[in-house]
Amino acid sequence: MPPFRLDRRELLKLLLASGLGLPAYARSQVRRPGSMFMIPERPSFFFTQLIYGQGNQWLPHPTAAESFLQILVQRTSVPAGPERKDIALGSDRLFYSPFLYLSGAREFAPWSEPEVDRLRQFLEYGGFLLVDDALGASGSGFDQSFQREFSRLFPGEILAKLPQDHTVFQTYYLIDRVVGRKAGRPYLSGVDREGRTVLIYSPNDLAGAWARDSFGRFMHQVEPGGERQREMAIRLGINIVFYALTVDYKKDLIHVPFIEERRRRRVWP
């Protein structure tokens, strides 16, 4: 078995990354090769954020994705790319990014018809969209604008609350509380196609609970539950990524008795 080697280029990247305070990149590159047999990691999951509207309207929490990806890589086996990827609906690469993240705090202009058609096609043929209201308040401008676009995406359908036994609440962590930076609306909504939830809407500003500054400190207070609520928001994000990647894997019969037993025994904090 060949030993794991860092070449000069990798070493330089590592030193530069550490020195420049980019912990997510540095840690992900260093930690994954530390697997038992020194097999280097090859990222296959990328956190892809949708660009829309004016200026940085689409990016209310610029550091949230990297922070989340660092946690994802530390806690799970998901071979995630260290950096957020940004993409527009019209991009040729859209369909190479099956996980899409859409966030915002303000109202935004309607998408063009071709953009709506393209996003619908993306979702119906296997793509996944996580929508996050960065204001975390009912009736926000973003919320209203997204509801408008949703009715164009799926005419005649509604964003239905996901039931408590939905797979997304048991893909990695067992989750019984839906929170984000806020906890005002304790639920996720979504829409299904052929037994798969293709779009999940979080009204509580998930990414607000993930965002960190360049010193690694979380940027926003989490209300009302404090750090325990932040942990729950992180777990929910991880579960959503696992749902996008494995769909109903945790509904396979072999898992059901284990999960039911754990849910029965558990004393929820």
């Binding site: 060949p2 296959s44 284990f258």
Partner: protein, 776 residues
């Protein structure tokens, strides 16, 4: 009248009838013309008649009507028709049942039904003499069709017919009688029909209340008398008449058979019903015979334990004195299928390749997927206690030491087993493929296809590619996979039926990303898709490679990016169908779907008579699914009745990979033949056929006399139904006079001067009187 005509000078020689024939009456135009004429005459006359009084008006009206009547007479063109008439003799058909069931008696020592029928004919000579005197009597022997006899049935007549088709024979006999008027038909039979009559009457029995008419009888032109030959109350027989079951069974699932037992005569209250496969008793059950109803229905179930085609036999014991022992067993072939395909899916870590393949497999309802994804590795810290996690242990020991034989396919996707499995599990996996006929699919990725370590050696044994010692071996870069010559024809990579279209589709698919650098394809393996330019020691790097590994199969896809053929293809405005079809094909090949076999051995039918020629056809394809005549083919007997000898002839090549075999099995029982083929030292697999050699015994499936069916025929046609010992008193036939006109001669009565004057005279007189009386 004839004398009058002769006096009038008409030659009536040869004619014996006369009648008035109205030629014009056959046309509706004539009737319209006559009506219009009458109305017109009355309308024209009305002004004059209105001015006239009393007797004058009546006279004028009468004259004009008389004139009109004569004109109408002429319009209908009457003629005097002389006719030649011949009196015909009615014909009569006597049908005698000579099907095999007529050989039976009430017991195996009593007189046969045929003997009773012949005795009826012989014992009622005067009756038949009388019939022959009055009618033109034709005698037929019938089974599945009638055969005209030269005269009355004689004692030498044998009952050899393989079926009893009463309705069909009645219709055919009627045709044989030609245009002669038919006075009736007399049928001597046991009524044990197994043709259309049985189908209709059984359907009526099965669907109580259904008013099924028998069209053949409703339209039959003459009464049919029936004579039952045999005594129903004296019959002793136990028969398995029917076994109703699904066309296919599923392994490890109970299979239900509804068996109908028919018992005639009281010889046992309970009998043992047994289901066998070969000599092995699968299930046996005591059945209480329903003595009030002659048919007893029994539900029998058993659980098939093996996949394949098997011959099953139902049996009841043969009792002393039974009319027939051939109906105490009933065989039927049954194909046992997998109920579900069980797939063990082990994934190194979650990825889009895994997600899209999982979705593709989940679309197939027959796939039972048991998945294990490595969601957390030893160094991952979920920052939560165990009871807040949905993760379950990876039960490797149970899976590989106990459950492995229950899976049809094992998939490793970007999975390095050394991190999780014990070395002996890899040996179990190898044996699962090579010995037990299981299949393995290895999908690439950074952790996959790692060579040069002892741990992976058993897995390497079954792979179609050789692995190099350097790892990780994943080479980055995008490329469009291209098909090798074998890939252009192989069913795995056939995503379009037309070869040119198939190649075009593959070239148009989105690029793959990354390839596991393997050394080369192993001897005997087949590469279906290659990297367009990246080369290894054995040439272009294989992307898709397959091999037969002992009894099982192995497929390697040396990339974890085939999902690019799905969602990204849609993004490029193409279809994702090729992705779905490719993986469907791959799974079917791995699961040794019969339709994807290289050898196909077929038979013409499932049951043969002893000594009958059995023709088998073998079709051989090479590993790229092209017909080949180069293979060395072999046919052998896998199963045969004990003591049976069945010489296997040399195959007769028929070109394009086809070979024919003709065999003549003599011994009764089930036969399983296996064909195999070798091409260039490699096995192309094998295929089997199953068939039964049995005496044709349709006549003995249900030997019960059917007086009620004969009575139905008579009732529907207006005849009588009697038993053979009841005499002929009721079996009379009417003999109506039937005449036939053989020639005519017409003398027209309207196209002459007399008729013209008869029309002109009253009209002229009427005109004259009107002028005279000043009425016009």
């Amino acid at each position: 009248m004839m004398q009058l005509l002769e006096r009038l000078g008409v030659d009536t020689t040869g004619f014996d009838r006369w009648q008035i024939h109205w030629a014009g009456a056959e046309s509706s135009a004539t009737w319209w013309a006559a009506g219009i004429l009458l109305i017109a005459l009355v309308l024209f006359l009305w002004p004059a008649v209105r001015r006239a009084r009393g007797g004058k008006a009546a006279l004028l009206l009468s004259l004009r009507l008389l004139g009109a009547a004569v004109i109408c007479f002429a319009l209908f063109q009457p003629s005097l028709r002389l006719a030649k008439v011949v009196r015909l003799t009615n014909s009569l058909a006597v049908l005698l049942d000579t099907s095999e069931s007529m050989n039976l008696g009430e017991s195996n020592s009593g007189p046969s039904r045929l003997a009773q029928a012949l005795k009826f004919v012989d014992g009622n000579r005067r009756y038949f003499d009388d019939l022959e005197e009055k009618f033109q009597v034709r005698y037929f022997a019938f089974a599945e069709s009638p055969r005209l006899l030269p005269g009355r049935p004689e004692a030498s007549l044998a009952a050899t017919g393989a079926g009893t088709h009463i309705l069909e024979s009645m219709t055919d006999a009627l045709k044989e009688l030609g245009s002669q008027p038919v006075a009736g038909m007399l049928i001597l039979s046991d009524g044990a029909d197994n043709g259309r009559l049985r189908q209709i009457l059984k359907a009526r029995e099965d669907q109580a209340g259904l008013a099924l008419r028998i069209p053949d009888l409703a339209e039959f032109p003459a009464p049919v008398h029936t004579v039952l030959c045999g005594k129903p109350e004296a019959l002793h027989d136990l028969a398995i008449t029917e076994a109703v079951h699904d066309e296919y069974g599923f392994v490890h699932n109970p299979f239900l058979i509804k068996v109908k037992l028919k018992s005639a005569g009281r010889f046992a209250d309970r009998v043992a019903l047994t289901l066998k496969s070969g000599d092995q008793v699968l299930v046996s059950r005591e059945v209480e015979l329903d003595l009030k109803q002659e048919t007893t229905e029994v539900k029998l179930d058993f659980t098939p334990r093996k996949v394949g085609e098997f011959l099953y036999t139902l049996e009841v014991p043969v009792f002393a004195g039974e009319a027939s022992d051939l109906n105490n067993r009933l065989s039927f072939p049954l194909r046992v299928l997998r109920d579900k395909v069980r797939v063990l899916y082990i994934v190194g870590n979650p990825s889009w390749d895994e997600r899209f393949l999982r979705m593709a497999m989940k679309r197939n309802p027959s796939v039972d997927l048991v998945s294990f994804y490595i969601l957390r590795e030893y160094q991952d810290d979920p920052m939560a206690p165990q009871d807040e996690l949905a993760l379950i242990p990876f039960p490797t020991q149970k899976l590989f030491t106990e459950e492995l034989p229950n899976f049809d396919l094992v998939i490793f996707q970007n999975f390095f087993g050394m991190e999780y499995l014990l070395p002996q599990y890899m040996m179990l996996l190898r044996d699962y493929v090579k010995v037990r006929g299981g299949s393995v699919l290895v999908i690439g990725g950074i952790r996959a296809l790692l060579g040069g370590i002892a741990f992976n050696a058993p897995l390497e044994e079954i792979l179609p590619v050789e692995l190099g010692p350097d790892w990780p071996n994943l080479e980055e870069g995008d490329y469009v996979m291209y098909l090798t010559p074998a890939g252009r024809t192989h069913p795995i990579t056939r995503v379009a039926q037309d070869p040119a279209e198939n190649e075009r589709v593959w070239k148009s698919l989105p690029a793959l990303s990354g390839i596991n650098r393997t050394l080369r394809a192993k001897p005997g393996a087949l590469v279906l898709g290659e990297h367009p330019f990246a080369k290894g020691p054995g040439g272009n790097l294989p992307v898709i490679a397959i091999t037969e590994a002992g009894a099982g199969r192995c497929l390697v896809v040396a990339t974890d990016s085939t999902w690019h053929w799905n969602l990204p293809a849609v993004g490029q405005g193409k279809s994702n169908k090729p992705y779905q079809i490719f993986w469907d094909n791959a799974l079917r090949w791995l699961l040794q779907d019969p339709e994807m076999k290289l050898l196909s051995l077929t038979r013409e039918k499932g049951r043969y008579q002893p000594g009958e020629e059995v023709r088998l056809a073998l079709e051989v394809l090479d590993e790229s699914y092209q017909p080949t005549d180069q293979a060395r083919v072999k046919l052998e007997v896998a199963e045969a009745p004990s003591g049976a000898e069945l010489p296997i002839p040399e195959p007769t090549p028929a070109g394009k990979g086809k070979y024919n075999f003709t065999l003549k099995p003599a011994a009764v029982g089930g036969y399983r033949l296996r064909a195999s083929a070798m091409l260039a030292g490699r096995s192309l697999g094998h295929d089997e056929v199953l068939f039964e050699v049995a005496e044709e015994k349709r006549e003995f499936e249900d030997v019960a006399l059917r007086p009620e069916w004969l009575a139905e025929i008579s009732r529907e046609t207006g005849g009588k139904s009697v038993r053979a010992d009841a005499g002929t008193a009721e079996l009379s036939f009417k003999n109506p006079v039937v005449e036939k006109i053989t020639g005519t001669r017409d003398f027209p009565l309207w196209d002459n001067l007399f008729t013209f004057l008869c029309a002109l005279a009253p009209l002229s007189l009427e005109w004259f009187l009107r002028r005279r009386w000043g009425l016009s």
